[in-house]
């Protein structure tokens, strides 16, 4: 009877919790640059809905900047790195990826990517150690009684904090190299026959040779991830949590994975119930442009304008590349708005204006915009999809080439190679996407698909974060795959057992047959011996 009373009380309390429109406390483990710009949309919406949002950021932070006016709260932790050193380290690796890596062959290329990745993860681990070893900060976080951790899965630590604070966590995520985090932590499935692995730059319709290439990429990334990259994390997490564990196991406890793509962008592939796709959640209708910019755009007349940006990390280029690009831009009848913060190229035409910053979304949503020259970052591509603008892709690093392959396959982009392109290559690419109406049609088709979803991506992201807060998790979405070892997961023990049974049966049958054969076909010899 006492149990019954307790249960009724619990039900009343839960009903109260659900009906009172309870607002929660969200702890955020962010990632720099475009990742932060993307996540900030979610955080602003969380604040707008009445939740308290506290972002953990280091004293060396670059864009995750507490000094900027915001309704989001920041918890700044000290780190031994300075902001300048931190930024310089980022820039050094990015420049290396853009200018040095294209010179190498497959293995050298990826061994350099691996090194860049290791450098990155070493820095993230450094920051993570600065947080978890800061007893005062950890005590403050414990006392704050957060309801959920929201983390960008590309930079581990959020899941460790959630474990230490004993609260659920939700990921916002674009990808990990070779989808290894997704596979080994999230239990996602990527059949290599029709899902091109990220960083392979392959499309969904693969020839036999491309499927071989894809399989080799899968094996390469699996080897890289399994044997080398995570061991430092595993050791660190085991030490902090005081029990043997791994990065994969800890990440695998995520309640939800909010993936920053959708099928307007990515190729269809299998996924699990605790995954949702929120690609383009940051997109919104265009606002009016600043007067000077609007005047410049209007001055293009019927020809319209071209918007050109290489993303939040690249505002400068070598003189030679900048001149090649400027020369191409000078030859089109459109006006061009170029986000560029380097030395003015001498080939710059009168139709091109340089800006240190562009209101990219507002420009892409302007009716006069004819094309978008982009490095292929996820945020920019989604803004182009949202507004239905065809693209010329100049991928520079990370997933950008893969993103452009997706847009190319869907007929909304033409790609050029940054290292080797001539002015003519870029000019032809621009002429194609502007003058061939199929590119605009395809871009508009993607826009319609993007805007025609059961609910908006941002609302979906918010729904799941709030769901996890309301229900203290989302265990009903969790596949039983997480409770299996890798050989159980692949049914290797079952297949082994069944094969052993088959072999035993065949062995016994063969022995019986041989015995019968010997018994009944050689009576003479037996007789002789008798």
């Amino acid at each position: 009877m006492s149990m019954k009373r307790t249960s009724v009380l619990l039900l009343i309390l839960l009903s109260f919790y659900f009906s009172s429109g309870n607002c929660g406390k969200v702890l955020v483990w962010p990632t720099e640059y475009s990742h932060w710009m993307n996540m900030k949309t979610i955080l602003d919406e969380l604040v707008r809905r009445g939740h308290e949002v506290i972002v953990l950021t280091s004293s060396a932070s670059i864009l995750v900047d507490p000094s900027k006016p915001s309704t989001i709260k920041f918890e700044v932790y000290p780190t031994s790195l300075s902001k300048d050193v931190f930024e310089a380290l980022f820039m050094k690796q990015i420049k290396r990826w853009i200018y040095d890596l294209p010179k190498y062959n497959f293995l050298s290329y990826f061994s350099h990517v691996q090194e860049i990745s290791w450098n990155y993860y070493e820095r993230i681990r450094h920051l993570c150690k600065d947080v978890v070893s800061n007893k005062k900060l950890m005590a403050k976080l414990q006392e704050s009684k957060f309801d959920v951790v929201l983390a960008d899965a590309i930079s581990p630590c959020g899941e460790l904090l959630a474990q230490l604070l004993k609260i659920p966590f939700v990921y916002s995520f674009r990808f990990s190299p070779g989808y290894t985090f997704e596979k080994y932590s999230g239990g996602f499935l990527f059949p290599p026959s029709y899902v091109p692995v990220v960083l392979s730059e392959l499309s969904k319709q693969m020839t036999f040779m491309e499927r071989i290439k894809n399989m080799l990429y899968v094996l390469y990334f699996d080897f890289w991830f399994q044997l080398i990259d995570t061991k430092n994390w595993d050791q660190f997490y085991s030490e902090v949590l005081g029990r043997p564990t791994t990065l994969s196991e800890t990440m695998g406890k995520a309640e939800m994975w909010l993936i920053r793509t959708y099928w307007d962008f990515d190729f269809p592939r299998p996924f699990l119930p605790n995954v949702d796709f929120i690609g383009g959640h940051h997109c919104k209708p265009a606002k009016p442009l600043p007067k000077e910019m609007e005047d410049f755009v209007q001055s293009s007349g019927g020809n319209g304008v071209v918007v050109f940006s290489l993303g939040s990390m690249v505002s400068d280029l070598t003189e030679e590349r900048a001149n090649v690009i400027a020369s191409a831009l000078a030859q089109i009848p459109q006006k061009v708005l170029w986000r560029f913060d380097g030395k003015k190229p001498h080939t710059l035409g009168p139709n091109t204006k340089l800006y240190k910053w562009l209101p990219q979304n507002d420009l892409l949503g302007h009716p006069k915009t004819k094309a978008f020259i982009t490095h292929g970052g996820n945020n920019g591509i989604y803004e182009a999809i949202y507004h239905g603008v065809p693209m010329v892709g100049i991928p520079l690093f990370a997933d950008q080439a893969d993103n452009i392959v997706r847009m190319k396959t869907k007929g909304a982009a033409v790609a050029v190679d940054f290292s080797t392109m001539s002015s003519t290559d870029l000019l032809n690419a621009l002429k194609t996407v502007i003058n061939d109406p199929i590119y605009k049609e395809n871009a508009m088709k993607l826009s319609r698909i993007h805007q025609d979803q059961p609910i908006k991506p941002l609302d979906r992201a918010l729904f799941w974060i709030e769901f996890v807060m309301r229900h203290r998790g989302a265990k009903h979405l969790r596949a039983a795959a997480h409770d299996l070892t890798w050989f159980q997961y692949h049914s290797l023990d079952v297949i082994g057992f069944l094969l052993a049974c088959v072999v035993t049966v065949i062995f016994i049958i063969t022995k019986c047959c041989l015995f019968c054969f010997q018994k009944f076909t050689k009576p003479g010899k037996k007789g002789k011996r008798d």
Copy 2:
């Protein structure tokens, strides 16, 4: 320039189409009994939203009855079967499944299930032939210019009609035996290590022996489906479409699969982007009961009532089973409302009232309802989930035992075996779910999960049907898996090629080593020969 103009015109036309709130024409290929009751909710909502819905039904239809008042339109086609014969055929097979099959061992059981299934598919093929060979009807359907076919995938033909009418089609679906339609037509993935195959009655947390059992079920169903069951359909479809095709290939062209479960009910498993889960879309708040029934419910006082129904197909039982059940019901303090249309059991207690029909959803939503005794049909279980009512499961046939396993695993039900249960077994089961508060708590938890979704299941179903009409399909959700042969899909050609390369390399290295070994270790012999 002319192309440009055409493209602009096309864009204007498309924009007009999307902004005008265009209503469409839906052709429906239904399935009888509970499948029809379930689909009717979607059709009523389609009509409410202004779409024209025409259901193809045979002159022998049972529940898909054009004579009943409805806003849905029916197109009745003649068939050689009479309604009585059609109904008798159904009932014969169901009774066989309930009373005869439990006596058999694994192989006999499934060979009987297989036979029942073949009989069913033979009848459906008969009906399908009646439609596609009816030239007048087909001409009328062609002229009607439908936008989409909505079909229950368990009864093929909808996809054939869609192909003949050259329009897209959407499935509503619960399951096929062994998930074979889903795998071979839809490209769904069911990893045998953590996804118990339907009809196996296994749970998601499987022991080693259960995983072996699951693998054997997978192999059994694969063999059954691949080698035997579909050949008649393949031949029929090839003849009608005038080209070699298969049932799987034709079904695989579905734009969307609307699966009638969700993770409040089923175990989490992978799925593809063109799959959505609409389980419980038919559920709604309870309406007031008829006066006589409400008086009976109220007369239960604090003890409350138990609702008992064995679904739309079973309203009668053998005298012996009915008495065992009635005797158990007579011993509980609750009042019982039992949907029963047979001879009144002599053990019937004064607390139990028999009804030929029950307003099941309204009763389950009544605050006095303490438990639901159910055969485990999808519709009834979802009504219990929606209203948070714990269950006693008496599964009879098809997926019912699997459904009850799901509710048992989630702690919202106790199961008893229909063939072997005694009155005490049923009585104990009832006492457990009524008196142990954990069952109510778990049922309420499922209810909360069910009611806390980004959008309601019915709205999601409607969204996708309307999306397919708006965009003439949903090709962006279609995985490239459909373009591969089975050996390409499983990467067998790639694995074979890579293994051949490895073997070749090992062979060459071994040969080189042997050559070197012979060359450098036996100089004496060589010298001698010289």
